[in-house]
């Protein structure tokens, strides 16, 4: 997932929201639960203190009696954490009553610590018990028989606060685990949702790659309603682009036809005329012819666009060319030996490869004594030069070849070293222009059997 991608945006926003909301929800749930548990514990203590107060202080005569009912069995178990204590407030020396669980210890009084009473008159406090355990205690001040003029007593009931803490901690642990699992689940679902939701875009990506590599000519597949218009627009664009290229090609061809025939007429007429004017016209018409060929080729190259480049199987181009050249050079009985891997494919237009190979093979056939060798090789991708697969094509003949100096000059436009061999002399420079337009190269060398060897390097698909 790249930083600047739709998937990244969707995923990070969804994940951030999840990670923000889940802890907040956790805090709220935890707080509510803790308050609830505390309230219910306090309610139990309140009930106990009320019951003990009513039980012990019911009679207005005499000192308070130990409660007749046990209420809580743990009041009998020493240091159980459940305690009660009834102490006189006004007479410090009077006897105090305590639960068996308290033994010789006593409970601290919230009144003594200046704890304010709640609306019902009960005072709440957290304290340490006789065994050092945390306690929650509640104190109620009441008079004997609830009569206002009788002596006041403090009634304290305590329960183990650690039990409460255990309960809350246990809940917190389970809540955290559950929320964490939910978070992980949500993030995973988000990831899946993003991937699944953006699947059609991946499909488009793949489709475009297929178009670029030439495997397909249109963007195919059933795409969702939202991007379906994009697909049809893109296909229309590719189609119209192809049409424009085709039309330009046709126009160029028509222009060639329209210009070359009159030019042939002028040339023939001028050559027949033996005056100075005739030779001048012939010379100039020849230059015009070269220019037309050159710029028509240029124009044709310019119509090639990078949007939907073709892929051309090399062997399928070589076969008809060799067949045609064998016929054209039938008299010479030149043998054309071809070595071409069947899977060699050229990343470019068929016509351009045809022009390059046709011109090279035709030249080689004109000059060869008996044999022309065409060798095609595909070199793998090189990471060092960051280039894709390359086609390496060599056309070599066993003819007279060229000197180093001739080889250096021959690439120049329109140059012909030998006027006795037919041809317009543009063949090789067109090959060089075409190779260059594909960011390839065309080099001349001496072939092992004496003639000229032309090395072409082109992008492979």
């Amino acid at each position: 997932m790249r930083f600047n991608s739709l998937a990244f945006r969707l995923f990070t926003t969804a994940a951030a929201w999840t990670l923000l909301v889940l802890p907040i929800a956790g805090f709220i749930i935890y707080g509510l639960y803790r308050d609830d548990v505390q309230a219910s514990f306090d309610g139990q203590l309140q009930k106990l203190v009320n019951a003990i107060t009513v039980d012990s202080m019911g009679s207005a005569q005499g000192p308070p009696s130990p409660p007749a009912n046990l209420y809580e069995p743990l009041f009998e178990v020493t240091h159980s954490g459940w305690y009660w204590q009834i102490t006189p407030v006004d007479e410090p020396n009077a006897r105090k009553l305590v639960s068996a669980s308290l033994a010789t210890a006593s409970l601290p009084s919230p009144t003594a610590k200046n704890v304010a009473p709640d609306p019902s008159g009960a005072r709440w406090m957290d304290a340490k018990g006789p065994a050092g355990e945390p306690l929650r205690l509640v104190e109620v001040i009441d008079t004997l028989g609830h009569e206002p003029d009788k002596p006041r007593y403090s009634i304290i009931v305590a329960g183990p606060a650690d039990w409460l803490d255990h309960l809350v901690a246990n809940f917190r642990y389970r809540l955290t685990t559950a929320l964490a699992l939910a978070g992980i689940g949500l993030v995973a679902v988000t990831l899946f949702q993003v991937r699944f939701g953006l699947l059609p875009l991946r499909q488009i990506e793949g489709g475009l790659a297929a178009i670029r590599s030439g495997a397909k000519t249109t963007l195919e597949g059933e795409l969702p309603a939202e991007i379906e218009p994009l697909q049809s627009e893109l296909n229309a664009l590719i189609h119209s682009n192809q049409q424009i290229v085709d039309r330009a090609r046709t126009q160029v061809g028509n222009l060639a036809h329209a210009l070359k025939t009159p030019l042939a007429v002028i040339l023939n007429e001028a050559r027949g005329d033996k005056t100075g004017l005739g030779s001048k016209v012939a010379e100039q018409a020849q230059i015009m012819g070269s220019s037309i060929t050159r710029y028509l080729d240029r124009a044709r190259m310019a119509t090639r666009t990078g949007v939907a480049g073709g892929v051309t199987p090399v062997a399928a181009v070589i076969e008809p060319l060799v067949r045609t050249l064998a016929r054209i050079h039938q008299e010479k009985k030149v043998e054309i030996a071809v070595v071409c891997p069947p899977d060699a494919r050229f990343q470019g237009e068929r016509q351009d490869l045809e022009e390059m190979l046709g011109n090279l093979l035709d030249n080689a056939c004109k000059w060869a004594r008996r044999k022309v060798v065409l060798n095609v090789d595909v070199s793998p991708e090189t990471t060092r030069t960051r280039r894709g697969k390359r086609l390496s094509i060599t056309v070599a003949d066993d003819g007279p070849g060229l000197t180093d100096e001739q080889r250096a000059r021959i690439g120049k436009r329109g140059l012909r070293l030998d006027e006795t061999k037919p041809g317009s002399g543009l063949g090789l420079s067109i090959v060089m222009d075409l190779a260059q337009s594909y960011r390839g190269s065309c080099e001349l060398a001496r072939s092992p059997n004496g003639g000229l060897a032309v090395h072409l390097e082109l992008p492979a698909a």
């Binding site: 061809g253 060639a256 036809h257 329209a258 210009l259 070359k260 025939t261 009159p262 030019l263 042939a264 007429v265 040339l267 023939n268 007429e269 050559r271 027949g272 018409a285 020849q286 012819g289 060929t293 008809p320 060319l321 067949r323 045609t324 016929r327 054209i328 039938q330 008299e331 068929r350 016509q351 045809e354 022009e355 190979l357 046709g358 011109n359 037919p422 317009s424």
Partner: protein, 223 residues
């Protein structure tokens, strides 16, 4: 040797006809596809110069139809369309050579000669028959090194016989291959020209095969 030129540009057509006639061929011409197809289909031409872009019927279709109906004369395509795909299409349709415009007339004539030679099975541009020697390039005939001056009709007749030496050639065949379509075809004129040739050539190589025609043989026959 009869040549058909199918070319719609009338200036180029005229130039081609002129150059070929000057080179000693009997030339017919057509300026549209239908006419060209019809002529090639009905007349026995020795070679056809065919343009591709023609009104009414294009050159490739013409050529394909000729080849389908077994018309085997050599065809040189002469066209402005010089892409290799066009050349492949032309050669696959049955053409024997391909020349792109603009062209040198000498080059066209050289290719016409080459096709003629190929069709009659001769390897070089010079054809020999006993002491007779025909240079198709310069249209000259020599006998034992001595040049023989011939009129264009005489040259055509002798060249045809030399291209097909050793074979009996009928008068009808000679008439069909030596004269333009609208020439007054009288087979008696052939006899007249044969007579003239026999006078000009020191050794008698032209043999009359009774009821069949003429044969050029390497050894002088009994006159």
């Amino acid at each position: 040797m009869r040549v058909l030129v199918v070319e719609d540009d009338k200036d180029l057509n005229r130039q081609l006809v002129g150059a070929l006639a000057d080179a000693g061929y009997a030339v017919d011409s057509a300026s549209d596809g239908e006419e060209g197809y019809f002529l090639g289909d009905t007349e026995p031409y020795d070679i056809v110069i065919l343009d591709i872009g023609l009104p009414k019927m294009d050159g490739i279709s013409i050529l394909e139809q000729w080849r389908r109906s077994d018309r085997k004369m050599p065809v040189i395509i002469l066209t402005a369309r010089d892409r290799w795909s066009d050349k492949v299409a032309g050669m696959d349709a049955g053409a024997d050579d391909y020349l792109a415009k603009p062209f040198h007339m000498e080059e066209l004539l050289a290719r016409v000669r080459a096709q003629m030679r190929r069709a009659s099975g001769h390897a070089s541009s010079e054809i020999e028959c006993g002491p007779l020697r025909l240079d198709t390039k310069s249209a000259r005939v020599t006998c034992d090194g001595q040049q023989i001056k011939l009129t264009s009709h005489e040259y055509r007749l002798l060249a045809y016989l030399m291209h097909h030496n050793g074979r009996v050639v009928s008068r009808t065949e000679l008439v069909e291959h030596l004269y333009e379509q609208d020439f007054d075809r009288d087979s008696n004129t052939i006899e007249v020209f044969i007579g003239r040739l026999r006078k000009k050539i020191p050794v008698d190589l032209i043999e009359t095969v009774r009821g069949l025609g003429y044969r050029l043989s390497e050894k002088p026959g009994q006159a």
